[in-house]
């Protein structure tokens, strides 16, 4: 067993009754990695996470952790931790007792227990809140307690369910850095589930994009961002102009449009970010149907023979009016070339 296959899902199939949520998933996660399961709701990411935790029994397939097959091992015996989206703190216990809960069950007592709990609290910066009850804490603080509670158990894998979605923008940034720090310092293998691509891109070493129970693409944040493999992934990470490619044309709402440039034979689709659209010159023409100011940039929604096109340019440039007719281009050199289409 190599470190790159610290956690493996082998042909894992998860279903709810007759409904197959995740068919035969294969996935390898390396030791010490910070991995994101990214996708829209219903894509199976949470189901997969719960299966790893043991809260859901697979219909078939195997889960192997650090060389051991844990597929049939009950949840309370797996060396896996889970920080719930709602934090799931025990309302009748204070912070100290919440964090100590799992350790006590393991039989840790006395000085040993005290040290480990206090260290855990120190790591998340909540030492002075030890006697407070969960109801007296803010959302961000509750999450830290939840994190500490799982971390003191020294799990082999730590799972986090949508860790940042309940926090406001400011806290999100704080927590993001916090989580990365804790992960790097402790070296724990961390998997978090999210529907927010910004979160995934910012935090993860590797991202696993899921759709309808399948893995759409696995890659580093740079990979996913710059080289989406399918039209779904492209759209998900912000390529708002996505087209299927057939030969020398792209398929648009109004029929096939010729396109020229260096296109790989295997490419099935082309995608452009709004910032990649050339505005002001080009072979195509469109009418401005909407504009919005976004601080550093200005966005335009154009009605064109190719359908709706979203373009973006520097806010410093003079604005174009509603109804203005603009020339534009979709330069193939800038486009992301997609290996697959049909997922959107």
């Amino acid at each position: 067993m190599s470190d790159s296959r610290f956690l493996s899902l082998e042909k894992l199939t998860l279903s709810y009754g007759k409904n197959v949520a995740v068919p035969e998933m294969d996935l390898d996660i390396a030791k010490g990695e910070l991995v994101a399961l990214l996708g829209p709701s219903g894509c199976g990411k949470t189901t997969t996470m719960r299966a790893i935790a043991g809260l859901m029994e697979p219909a078939s397939g195997a889960i192997v952790l650090d060389g051991a097959n844990i597929t049939r091992v009950p949840a309370n015996k797996r060396p896996v931790g889970l920080v719930f989206q709602s934090y799931a703190l025990f309302p009748h216990l204070n912070v100290y007792e919440n964090v100590a809960f799992g350790l006590k069950l393991m039989g840790v007592k006395g000085k040993d227990l005290e040290t480990r709990v206090n260290d855990g609290l120190k790591t998340v910066g909540l030492s002075q809140y030890a006697t407070r009850k969960p109801a007296e804490l803010s959302g961000g603080q509750q999450q830290r307690v939840s994190l500490a509670r799982s971390m003191v158990m020294e799990p082999k894998v730590l799972l986090l369910d949508e860790p940042l979605s309940n926090l406001d923008a400011r806290l999100r940034l704080e927590m993001r850095t916090e989580l990365q720090r804790v992960q790097k310092e402790s070296g724990v293998t961390m998997i978090f589930v999210t529907h927010d691509q910004v979160e995934a891109l910012a935090m993860a070493d590797r991202i696993i994009v899921m759709l309808d129970g399948h893995i759409e693409q696995i890659g580093t944040p740079e990979d996913i961002y710059n080289n989406p493999a399918s039209d779904f992934v492209a759209d998900f990470v912000g390529f708002e102009n996505v087209f299927e490619r057939v030969g020398d044309t792209i398929k648009t709402a109004n029929g096939d449009v010729a396109i020229s440039g260096n296109i790989d034979d295997a490419t099935k689709g082309l995608a452009w970010r709004p910032s990649m659209v050339t505005l002001g010159e080009g072979p195509y023409e469109g009418t401005v149907r909407g504009t919005s100011f976004a601080g550093g940039t200005r966005e335009y929604l154009l009605d064109t023979p190719l359908g709706q096109i979203k373009a973006e340019c520097d806010a410093a440039l003079p604005a174009h009016d509603f109804g203005a007719v603009l020339k534009f281009d979709l330069p193939v050199a800038k486009a992301a070339q997609l290996a697959r289409t049909g997922s959107l």
């Binding site: 809260l55 859901m56 029994e57 949840a75």
Partner: protein, 275 residues
């Protein structure tokens, strides 16, 4: 974690089997007695039962009183509930508490009080004689009126509570809106309050009606054998004549009436909807 059906059943079955065995099974057997004569199934018992004038009278009286109590409690209930919901929070809580209070006291105690009030030497009579409205004590006890009053007192809180709940769920601005559009209070009641609170009325009405239909203590204490209701009749038939067949017949009537009342009230509620 909560997928295992076997676990779920194991947890739930003891209670279900217990309730089924103790309540349902014996009751079903009792009900079946009303349909048997010897070894055959027949409804003769029912025919015989309703053929007797005494039984008819008891049946009709029970229905009548139950209906009257329900109607009276609805009228008084709306008035009281409306007054209560408009109170400031502190007062509302206290008064609601006072209304619910009687429910925690034994029906025996609550009914017994009426003996003191309605008896020959009771308050009402003493007052009437003192004021000169009557030369001698009027017999109030062991009349339908007494039973009516007793039942009303017993079940009014249930209606009030149901209506308070329904009124609170009514959109706050519905009544002022109707008033601004020119409705007088009667119209406000029939066109706004009633349609919007009819669910509470149904719930309260069902509770009061079935409670009154299946009452024992109040008719027993305040009605005695002069004003028999279905349950006191049942008791009498069993204890004095070992007549289990009549008991079975009455039992079925009571259960059917309870269900029918529920259905009828639900129908009335939805019918208003269609107008």
């Amino acid at each position: 974690m909560f997928q295992n059906r076997a676990e779920a059943f194991a947890l739930v079955l003891p209670a279900a089997i217990f309730a089924g065995a103790i309540f349902l099974v014996p009751v079903v057997i009792l009900l079946s007695e009303g349909f048997r004569s010897g070894d055959s199934w027949t409804i003769q018992a029912y025919i015989d039962f309703f053929a007797r004038p005494l039984n008819q009278a008891v049946f009709l009286r029970t229905l009548k009183l139950a209906a009257m109590v329900t109607a009276a409690s609805a009228v008084i209930g709306y008035a009281a509930a409306f007054a209560i919901v408009n109170l400031p929070p502190k007062g509302k809580g206290r008064i609601t508490g006072l209304v619910v209070l009687p429910l925690m006291i034994s029906p025996v105690a609550r009914t017994y009080a009426w003996i003191v009030i309605l008896g020959r030497t009771g308050i009402v009579n003493e007052a009437l004689v003192a004021v000169g409205l009557s030369d001698e004590p009027i017999r109030f006890l062991f009349t339908e009126t007494a039973v009516f009053i007793g039942l009303l007192q017993l079940f009014l809180p249930l209606m009030i509570i149901s209506l308070i709940s329904a009124l609170e769920n009514m959109p706050r601005d519905a009544v002022p809106a109707a008033r601004v559009l020119g409705a007088n209070w009667l119209q406000v009641f029939t066109k706004v309050i009633l349609p919007l609170t009819k669910e509470g009325l149904v719930i309260g009405g069902t509770l009061v009606f079935t409670g009154s239909m299946t009452a024992y203590i109040t008719p027993a204490i305040l009605g005695g054998s002069k004003v028999l209701m279905l349950e006191t009749l049942l008791y009498q038939r069993v204890t004095m004549a070992n007549d289990f067949v009549s008991a079975s017949v009455i039992a079925l009537i009571l259960i059917v009436m309870a269900f029918a009342a529920n259905l009828l009230l639900k129908r009335l509620a939805t019918a208003r909807n269609k107008r």
